[in-house]
């Protein structure tokens, strides 16, 4: 029988710790082919070129007395100034994300080291506060079992 997956099978791990209140994650992998078309060719030809991966995740921002996963990610990107110089602050941190599809004890995932490229929070009437973070994968994934 075929197994299909939905949001209830999704899980996100941040540096090995399961993130809470994740509403979505996504990733996209692409490759830029290198054209090898030469004079007198009638159709374009290509060879494999550079690959890249990007992705995003959306998490609810909540308070359970300690930190929350949305805050964890936001703090990896945003750093406060360390002294009187407004132009100087710590660098953003790379982090390891695992985007998982879980069914019982079966876990399929993609593990990657990422650089957070954006984080945005939206507060609006009638909506739960959430954070949207986007990331750029550094190099090839560490693991892939999807």
């Amino acid at each position: 029988m075929s197994n299909f997956y939905s949001g209830q099978n999704g899980r996100l791990l941040i540096d090995g710790t399961t993130a809470a209140k994740v509403t979505s994650w996504s990733f996209s992998s692409s490759m830029s082919p290198l054209a090898t078309t030469s004079l007198e060719d009638t159709d374009q030809t290509f060879i494999n070129g550079i690959r890249s991966m990007t992705g995003s995740a959306r998490l609810y921002y909540y308070d359970d007395g300690s930190t929350n996963s949305a805050s964890t990610l936001i703090r990896k990107l945003i750093k406060t100034r360390s002294g009187s110089d407004p132009g100087k602050a710590a660098q953003s941190e790379n982090t390891t994300l695992k985007l998982q599809v879980v069914e019982g004890t079966t876990v399929k995932d993609v593990e990657m080291e990422v650089l957070l490229t954006s984080a945005s929070m939206n507060m609006a009437v009638g909506e739960v506060l959430s954070a949207e973070v986007a990331f750029q994968v550094n190099g090839a994934p560490k693991g892939l079992s999807l």
């Binding site: 290198l34 054209a35 090898t36 078309t37 030469s38 004079l39 007198e40 060879i47 070129g49 550079i50």
Partner: protein, 126 residues
């Protein structure tokens, strides 16, 4: 060593000109003196994009074998691939002509094992 037979990705050439000495006279008239009977200064620029490093090295080896811009050589038919024979015959279109490197080949690495090479040749009377 002969010039590599790799088919170029793109090609452009300058048709050259006859050696003409032009002088502006004090009365405003222009005087031109034809100094030769053959067109000179024909240049060809060839671009080889995304080729294997081994093929790219062939251009370096050829440049080396020609002592850089010193020696002359015949241009292979591959350099005019894609042109009609009449247009190809117009390059350089001058008898007793060979080619030499106008400048060293420029190699750009674009991917592991893959490079692009820019070549500039000039036709010379021999």
């Amino acid at each position: 060593m002969t010039y590599p037979t790799t088919t170029p990705t793109s090609r452009s050439f300058s048709y050259g000109n006859y050696p003409v000495k032009t002088s502006q006279m004090m009365d405003g008239f222009e005087t031109r003196i034809l100094l030769g009977s053959k067109r000179t200064g024909v240049e060809m620029q060839l671009q080889y994009n995304n080729i294997a490093d081994d093929l790219a090295k062939n251009f370096l080896d050829h440049f080396e074998s020609q002592k850089g811009t010193y020696l002359t050589f015949d241009l292979p038919a591959g350099a005019t691939t894609g042109m009609s024979s009449s247009l190809a015959g117009a390059i350089p279109g001058v008898s007793d002509t060979q080619w030499r490197w106008a400048e060293p080949p420029a190699v750009t690495s674009v991917y592991p094992g893959v490079s692009s090479v820019s070549v500039k040749l000039v036709a010379v009377l021999v």
